[in-house]
Symmetry: C2
Amino acid sequence: MSTVPASARDRLVAAAFDLFDVRGFDETTVDDIARAAGVGRTTFFRHFGSKEAVIFPEHDELLARIAARLDAGDADSRDSAVTEAARLVLRYYVGEGDRARIRYRLISSVPVLKTREIASIRQYQSLFARALSGWTADDPDAVLRAELLASAIVTAHNHVLRRWLRGEVDDPEDAFGHAMSVVLEPVTQAGGETTVVVVRTGAAPDQVAAAVQRALRSS
Amino acid sequence: MSTVPASARDRLVAAAFDLFDVRGFDETTVDDIARAAGVGRTTFFRHFGSKEAVIFPEHDELLARIAARLDAGDADSRDSAVTEAARLVLRYYVGEGDRARIRYRLISSVPVLKTREIASIRQYQSLFARALSGWTADDPDAVLRAELLASAIVTAHNHVLRRWLRGEVDDPEDAFGHAMSVVLEPVTQAGGETTVVVVRTGAAPDQVAAAVQRALRSS
DNA sequence: GGCGAGTACGGTACTGAGTACCAATCCTTT
DNA sequence: AAAGGATTGGTACTCAGTACCGTACTCGCC
């Protein structure tokens, strides 16, 4: 009855978080984790490609969920599509609770885990960039703008998530909404703001405006 | 006379790039590199912390240069400071020539190297974020805005660098200037303020536009 | 029930990265 | 010439990750 019915994979994850938390990442061997989970060392590597990967057990599935959400969007629903897709990630980590906090502590102190996390984040960013790149069109800088927006979304997400993990924010969903408004404010208002150049020459005003516009596009 | 006078460190880097390029990263052991450089295996690990690190030999020094350039800037010279700091990185890699191209091929095909590169990029980003965070003040979202701008700068840099590495761009400096104008265009227009430029000279409109363009390139 | 097929598991053996330690050599300083 | 610090090479060790093999369990199917 004390034998947990959880799958070997789940037991490995639980044992890994436990051991990493109390003993430290470097001081814990894969053998230790496998033994604590009551399985062989081979089984560990069958479920996780590396010792670090066990810290991000659902990463691949999350990636797939994000990709699916982005695929469901289109150019018109762009802002809400990316916001909701990023919110999926935020909700997942917030829903993890203590496990997310332990991961945060580990990542903050173990360089190899920080590297791994950064690489994971980059995968999300690539998903967003690809989706955005497919939506924005007929702009010579479309790819660059897509990458910029993708990096901004991911940065906003991580900013809010880290603040929540540090206990600096109570309602992460709300904070993320605000952060996204900061991200999208220049995008949505683009072209709405006016830069006026007053020239006292005899040139026609619209000629001057056209020149400034060209300059701002700086092509 | 065929014995190169280069330092052991330089010989290790050259041997590593050679072997990785022709034989592949995974198929090359540290022993191979050390033997090709005419030194012991221990010496390799004395100069580079890991097998991957030899691909980014000057990374730490570059980081220090960026930090120094950012430290030399202040809130007023913000745009030019970050632009010039990023340009230092761009110039370094462009100046490397073939070595940068070999690295790009390796990174594109070897996952562990891609991870390493992403982590390196993140270090630059952190430098920018910290500098920007110190400059922008009295804004409740100051940290977020600093992180957003830092990620945008790094994204713009990488966008241009990768395009140059793929041969899609001839003049990377010029392309980067343009990319930075795209990055800074929403920032400079932030707040919906209207910038009025009154020119009392008899200059032609396109001369004025040219002056604005130069100012936007901020270098 | 029996039975092959596919699957999850455990064990063993191996390669190679990274670390610790020790001895030798070189180079500087006095 | 002697002492002392720094760079190097060699050896031995731990452990992550891979390959391979034999075994147990399960699920249809006859």
